[in-house]
């Protein structure tokens, strides 16, 4: 991608907020995400980070502010103003969404190959052989045994399901992937393998990603930049290693000092 392209934000949040009656889940969030950039949103449960992720990915309508996204034609569009076809294009092709629970992002009863192929068919692929070849090569890329392409993910382990979910998301070559606690609920050894895989794929594909996590080690390994949330607001933001090694806000210092030494 040309340098010039990378100088334009891919996604822009301006004064974003969400309240439910008198309860504010998230308030006044503004930032720009650039192509190829990985942003981690960290904070404890209830800090508003999952609400923010839903606002950013147009799954929830904001009460205040807006989110704009640069479409493939280079034009920034307000997500709230998109037509149905454009929304579908984003959800099916240009974006990926990796859920904490793979069962939410996969169809558990159909084969692994169909789970990956489905995203291709949704964008008009109709040659069975090509779809199957592409699905196989993606299974390989996420280190799944291609011999199990016809097995349904309900027969897979948690770590394998998560890798399948990643393959399903990346097969359409999205430019932006949202991840909600992608390593939550996995064994530590499985987490390390998954993190390494995600790190490699993000680099190779020059993906932009927004990763919600409560695990600062995940943020350190995957992200360039981090936003710390507390009580629905962003309280500190900056370069990941800077925020984690030289935290400024009391709450960030508390989070960082609570990590168990390795």
């Amino acid at each position: 991608m040309a340098e010039q392209d990378n100088d334009q934000p891919l996604l822009l949040a301006e004064g974003l907020g969400k309240s439910y009656g008198r309860l504010t889940a998230c308030r006044d969030v503004s930032f720009a995400l650039y192509p190829g950039e990985v942003l981690a949103i960290v904070g404890e449960s209830g800090s508003g980070k999952s609400t923010l992720l839903q606002l950013l990915s147009a799954q929830l309508a904001p009460s205040a502010g807006r989110v704009s996204y640069r479409m493939r034609d280079g034009v920034m569009r307000d997500l709230a103003m998109l037509g149905e076809a454009e929304r579908r294009f984003l959800f099916r092709t240009d974006w990926g969404f990796v859920h904490q629970d793979p069962a939410q992002g996969l169809r558990m009863a159909v084969s692994a190959g169909a789970n990956v192929g489905e995203r291709l068919m949704a964008v008009g692929w109709n040659h069975y052989g090509k779809i199957r070849d592409t699905a196989s090569s993606w299974l390989e890329r996420v280190e799944l045994d291609v011999a199990r392409i016809d097995d349904a993910p309900k027969t897979y382990s948690g770590g394998m399901r998560q890798r399948l979910q990643i393959a399903r998301n990346l097969v359409t070559e999205p430019r932006l992937v949202f991840m909600d606690e992608p390593t939550g609920g996995l064994d530590v050894s499985v987490q390390a393998r998954l993190l390494d895989l995600m790190r490699t794929l993000v680099n190779e594909l020059d993906l932009a990603a927004i990763v919600v996590t409560h695990d600062l080690a995940v943020a350190r390994l995957l992200s360039h930049r981090v936003m710390v949330m507390q009580g629905g607001a962003v309280i500190e933001t900056g370069l990941t290693d800077q925020v984690l090694d030289d935290p400024r806000e009391p709450y960030t210092q508390l989070l960082v000092s609570s990590i168990l030494p390795a």
Binding site: Y34, E37, D196, H224, R225, L239, Q242, D245, P250
Partner: protein
């Protein structure tokens, strides 16, 4: 000659909110410059703030005042005010950092750990791995270890992997934090050689070295950090 690094009146204070907001001044009035092809060694007792200054030049610690000017792609950028994206670009194209300890990613082979900066800079996989192998060989890391992740290596081996990872690039600025601390004489000599090669290539370096002998061998100038002590 135009300096690669030009620091004027930089300062750093930690505020420890968990300890009742205690202020811990680290350094104040930090001022020095580094020209291309020059190695400046920071001297001073442990706790004087040498590592903090290196981390400030790398953008790892924030700078609370003054300026840290760095020549990046032909123009000077003040790291004290730079955006995260600019700092990332500076780390990709201008400043390399050899830390005291290797922070290895689980599962990644030593050869790829060393080649990472070249790969990120767009060098193809094979030549990048070849360059990584050549450096590892010079630093006496046996070839049978190259395909293993360095997390199981000894302290000295990890440090040499870390040195290879830092020296592989052709970045115009290198920051060295105790690069020879746990090395034997033969490997210390290799590091001295590597530093001298970098000087000939015009690389500007800032180093922390406790070993007097090594310091004499690589230092073009010594900056005494005690004069920047903020606690006084």
């Amino acid at each position: 000659m135009t300096a690669m690094i030009d620091i004027a009146d930089a300062e750093k204070t930690f505020v420890m909110h968990l300890q009742g907001g205690v202020e811990l001044p680290v350094v104040r009035g930090v001022s020095f410059h580094v020209d291309p092809g020059e190695c400046v060694v920071l001297a001073g007792p442990s706790g004087a703030g040498k590592s903090s200054i290196l981390k400030m030049i790398f953008g790892n610690y924030r700078c609370d005042g003054g300026r840290i000017g760095v020549r990046h792609q032909g123009r000077e950028i003040n790291l004290a005010e730079a955006e995260p994206r600019q700092i990332l670009s500076i780390r990709r194209h201008t400043i390399g950092y050899v830390s005291q300890f290797l922070r290895a990613v689980p599962r990644v082979a030593t050869l790829d750990v060393v080649a990472e900066l070249l790969l990120a800079g767009g060098v193809a996989r094979d030549p990048a791995r070849e360059a990584a192998g050549a450096l590892l060989r010079r630093l006496n890391i046996p070839e049978r270890l190259w395909s293993l992740p360095p997390s199981t290596f000894s302290g000295g081996e990890q440090q040499r992997v870390n040195i290879a990872r830092g020296f592989i690039s052709d970045l115009p600025i290198l920051l060295l934090d105790e690069p020879t601390a746990s090395l034997d004489a033969a490997n210390r000599a290799v590091v001295v050689e590597l530093v001298n090669e970098k000087k000939r290539q015009g690389v500007a370096m800032v180093a922390i070295v406790h070993d007097d002998e090594i310091r004499h061998l690589i230092a073009d100038r010594i900056v005494d950090v005690t004069s920047f002590a903020a606690a006084a």
